[in-house]
């Protein structure tokens, strides 16, 4: 767009800020997407610890195992699982939106709800399958 010669006298409107909007599901999930992203950012430290411990030797690995095997560790791992799956499904939804599809009211609500239900469902399924497969025998 070319600059016009006549100066614009009226100030251009600014976007209204967050607090004036009514909270909607898509808005909540957008915020959750960012929060889960930030959580995964720091979650990489757990992956780094795991890999370094494995590379360092049995003693270092035993320390990591005792942490991750504790109730606290298991809870963090459970949370990590849901966070990763939720952020992944949220990303998939954004990729669909990037193609310009899924913006109708029904579609976007459905996509958003599918992300939430999908992430919770898959997390429970994964942990259920994991417990069945491992069977506490190790």
């Amino acid at each position: 767009m070319a600059e016009t010669s006549t100066p614009r006298l009226k100030p251009r409107p600014l976007s209204p800020h967050l607090q004036i909007y009514r909270m909607t599901l898509t808005m909540a999930m957008s915020i959750v997407h960012r929060i889960t992203g930030a959580a995964l950012y720091f979650g990489i430290l757990l992956v780094t610890w795991w890999l370094l411990a494995a590379a360092s030797g049995p003693t270092a690995y035993a320390i990591f195992e005792s942490f991750i095997g504790s109730l606290m560790g298991r809870l963090i791992l459970f949370g990590y699982t849901w966070t990763l799956i939720h952020h992944g499904l949220g990303g998939l939804r954004h990729l669909i939106w990037d193609t310009g599809r899924g913006f109708e009211e029904k579609e976007r609500e459905l996509l958003t709800l599918a992300t939430l239900i999908g992430s919770i469902g898959l997390t429970i399924l994964l942990w259920g399958a994991g417990f069945m497969a491992i069977g506490g025998s190790r």
């Binding site: 767009m1 600059e3 100066p7 614009r8 006298l9 100030p11 251009r12 600014l14 960012r34 992203g37 930030a38 995964l40 950012y41 990489i44 430290l45 992956v47 780094t48 890999l51 370094l52 494995a54 590379a55 030797g57 049995p58 690995y61 035993a62 095997g69 699982t81 990763l84 992944g88 990303g91 998939l92 954004h94 990729l95 990037d98 994964l126 994991g130 497969a133 491992i134 190790r138």
Partner: protein, 134 residues
């Protein structure tokens, strides 16, 4: 940067803003890379989850053997690389959304870069050590 004051002089077109390369000085390339890594991560995260589940509760010797095997090591390296690149851009996005003053913004951006480089090198080193021994 200080918030732009409203008025005719501050009016900038979309093209001008892009040429200015945005608050982090890197333009739209990050937007694209973020999507490329996200597509890769949809697949690599699944691989990562399978690897973690398969190794949960295994003893150290087994974990070392599996993580050091070519297929698993390559998938882990790709997962780490795509994840941390994606994380780096994502956190930068968050920082430039909420931190507007120069000093804290560039400090946070620097910390973000250091954190990502550090974790990437540490993870890569660990996987390579598991693969090649010593």
């Amino acid at each position: 940067m200080s918030a732009p004051t409203n008025g005719p002089r501050q009016y900038r077109t979309a093209a001008r803003r892009v040429r200015g390369l945005g608050a982090a000085r890197t333009g739209t390339s990050h937007f694209i890379v973020q999507r490329v890594t996200s597509v890769a991560l949809l697949v690599l995260s699944c691989a990562f989850i399978v690897i973690v589940v398969a190794l949960t509760g295994r003893n150290h010797a087994t974990v070392v053997q599996v993580l050091g095997s070519p297929l698993v090591a390559i998938l882990m390296l790709l997962f780490i690389g795509a994840s941390i690149y994606h994380m780096w851009i994502g956190m930068q996005e968050i920082i430039i959304d909420y931190v507007h003053d120069d000093a804290p913004k560039f400090t946070a951006l620097l910390a973000n870069t250091f954190f990502c480089v550090l974790t990437a090198v540490a993870c890569t080193f660990a996987i390579l050590k598991l693969s090649f021994g010593v």
